[in-house]
């Protein structure tokens, strides 16, 4: 570290340029704004409104009473890896060896960061469909890679097609970072659509980081297929999942990755030196979640499904077009009719009607003209938020009210 004559760090040498150049999350500003206000109904939350089911919390309390307060093996408790392998097999017909092909991490976010750091050489290009979760691009940059955006629009259902990949392929393209069901759009891919993508992945010899954290939250009979379960994809796919969304366990920070032994072992190496292991309390709770948490999870999914229908038809009723999401707990309506930008609309909605949503641009430039509304909120709050939104739209455009 360079010091100047007064012994103070030289300002420009403090933070690496790689980190300095990444802008702070666009969500931050809305968090600050909304936090200052009283009486806000929030549709801006990216986590379940349910508390972790009691049997799962109780399992953690019990393990604390038993004195489980120590490190676990780097890759996670053996019994948890065992349960995760069983889950993959039962749910997606995927067989992973719990000893060397499964890694327990501090949330799926850590797993994605590890995968990028384990795979990316300086300058490698990572294909990232947008709008997408806020961390993909920054983590790619932190890992020394170059993010390449694949923009999607409402017309394509916010999904990429094989040609979107093909047009962005260069000799440096190495990874496709896919996430479905998608935060913020709720879009997911059918088996046929995934097969088409797999064809291109194979043709151009890409690796796939598949973030399937919302895989359990799909609605109206839509079936989730893991990317690794597609023909010839298991060896080139690292599947990422976790307990946060399906079991309402966001604060526990337990996720996992499964894939080819060499890649998992490389990820484990980074994890070993930087994290050591995920907290044992969370891992103990996660074991209980997979063993006995499915009924509670199914109840939560049934509840989300009803709320999704409520909010989608409510938004459409007030004249906002929106795609019926296949999964996650977000809708991504268009607010282009108002003539406002996403930021302007979200800010006006917050200031004038005290409803918090997140501007679509927080998830990529192509999210412009949309806002993300989370229906991880009580039915009563969704109904009240819809009433307030309708009131604002009525002021913005009197015609809307007469629809």
């Amino acid at each position: 570290m360079t010091l100047n004559s007064n012994g103070i760090f030289k300002e420009k040498r403090r933070v690496s340029s790689r980190v300095e150049e990444v802008p702070p999350s666009g969500i931050r500003r809305f968090f600050d704004l909304a936090s200052e206000m009283k009486g806000v109904i929030s549709l801006g939350v990216g986590e379940p409104d349910f508390v972790t089911p009691w049997n799962i919390r109780e399992a953690c309390v019990h393990s604390l009473e038993q004195g489980y307060t120590m490190y676990t093996p780097n890759s996670g408790l053996p019994e948890l890896r065992e349960e995760i392998a069983k889950y993959f097999s039962k749910r997606f017909n995927l067989d992973y060896d719990p000893n060397c092909e499964v890694l327990v991490t501090v949330g799926a976010s850590e797993a994605i960061d590890l995968a990028l750091r384990a795979l990316v050489e300086p300058g490698d290009e990572v294909l990232i469909p947008e709008p997408c979760f806020v961390s993909y691009k920054p983590c790619t940059i932190f890992a020394g890679g170059t993010p390449v955006t694949l923009s999607t629009t409402a017309q394509s259902g916010f999904k990429i097609k094989p040609e979107d990949i093909i047009t962005k392929i260069t000799p440096k393209t190495k990874i496709l970072l896919l996430s479905y069901p998608c935060n913020p759009t709720g879009a997911s891919y059918s088996y046929q659509e995934l097969l088409e993508l797999a064809g291109v992945v194979e043709k151009y010899d890409l690796l796939v980081i598949s973030d399937e954290i919302y895989s359990e939250l799909t609605y109206d009979g839509f079936k989730h297929y893991s990317f690794a379960s597609l023909p010839n994809m298991k060896e080139r796919t690292i599947v990422h999942n976790g307990f946060s969304k399906a079991f309402a366990m966001t604060g526990w920070r337990i996720g996992f990755a499964a894939g080819n032994e060499n890649i998992i072992s490389a990820m484990t190496k980074i994890h070993q030196y930087s994290i050591m292991c995920a907290p044992i309390m969370g891992q103990k709770a996660a074991v209980e979640a997979l063993r006995n948490g499915l009924p509670a999870m199914n109840e939560m999914v049934a509840e989300y499904e009803k709320r999704k229908r409520l909010i989608v038809s409510g938004l459409r009723d007030m004249g906002l077009s929106c795609i019926d999401p296949q999964g996650a707990f977000y809708v991504f309506p268009s607010i282009k009719e108002t003539g406002l930008t996403s930021e302007e609309f979200a800010e006006m909605l917050l200031r004038e009607e005290k409803v918090a949503v997140v501007p679509g641009t927080a998830f990529g430039e192509c999210g412009e003209g949309h806002v993300r509304c989370s229906y991880a909120a009580s039915t009563g709050n969704i109904i009240e938020a819809l009433n307030r939104m309708r009131r604002l739209l009525g002021r913005l455009n009197p015609k809307v009210m007469s629809l």
Binding site: S25, I27, F30, F31, A34, S35, V40, S42, G44, V45, G46, E47, D49, V51, F133, V134, S135, N183, D220, K306, R307, R309, L310, S313, G314, A356, V358, A362, T379, G380, I383
Partner: protein, 164 residues
């Protein structure tokens, strides 16, 4: 045969705070008119009996006492416990009556202004009914949970207002 739509509507009505037929229709992907029709039928068939609000009366400032009374009854030929039960549940002081398995027969919940009130009701009205053999009165001291609702602060939303 269980009718799926009827079950879903009943579940929503039981859980949801004053959900309108319009919102129920939106949530189930049905027409409002159909939902109204089903609710009307359910009321006519006495499947939906009444809408109830769960109130923390203590917090509201009204002091009442509640007692659970174990009642032993000698059953009667042909009617079993039903006649005695009906003699008990007709008293307005009685909030609910259940036929139980085990060491006693009827579980009776009684509400009164104070303990004396309840004790008098048991001694004068309940214990004197023909075929009632004995009563054991337990006063409720504190309510933790009723109909799935916690009476403590645990139902609050502690999440950050906006998160990715």
């Amino acid at each position: 045969m269980i009718d799926q739509a009827r079950m879903e509507i009943l579940e929503l009505l039981e859980k949801g705070k004053s959900l309108s037929p319009k919102h129920i229709a939106m949530m189930l992907g049905k027409e409002e008119a159909e939902v109204r029709k089903i609710i009307k039928e359910l009321k006519e068939e006495k499947i939906i009996l009444k809408h109830k609000t769960i109130i923390d009366w203590e917090k509201a400032g009204r002091e009442t006492v509640e007692a659970v009374i174990d009642v032993r009854v000698s059953p009667q030929r042909d009617v079993g416990f039903d006649v005695v039960a009906s003699k008990i549940y007709r008293f307005p002081e009685v909030k609910s009556v259940y036929l139980m398995s085990g060491t006693y027969d009827l579980s009776v919940v009684v509400e009164g202004k104070n303990m004396k009130d309840v004790a008098l009701f048991v001694a004068e009205k309940l214990a004197t009914i023909e075929n009632v053999l004995s009563t054991t009165t337990h006063f409720r001291l504190k309510k933790y949970k009723e109909d799935g609702i916690f009476f403590t602060g645990e139902n609050e939303d502690n999440r950050m207002v906006v998160s990715p």
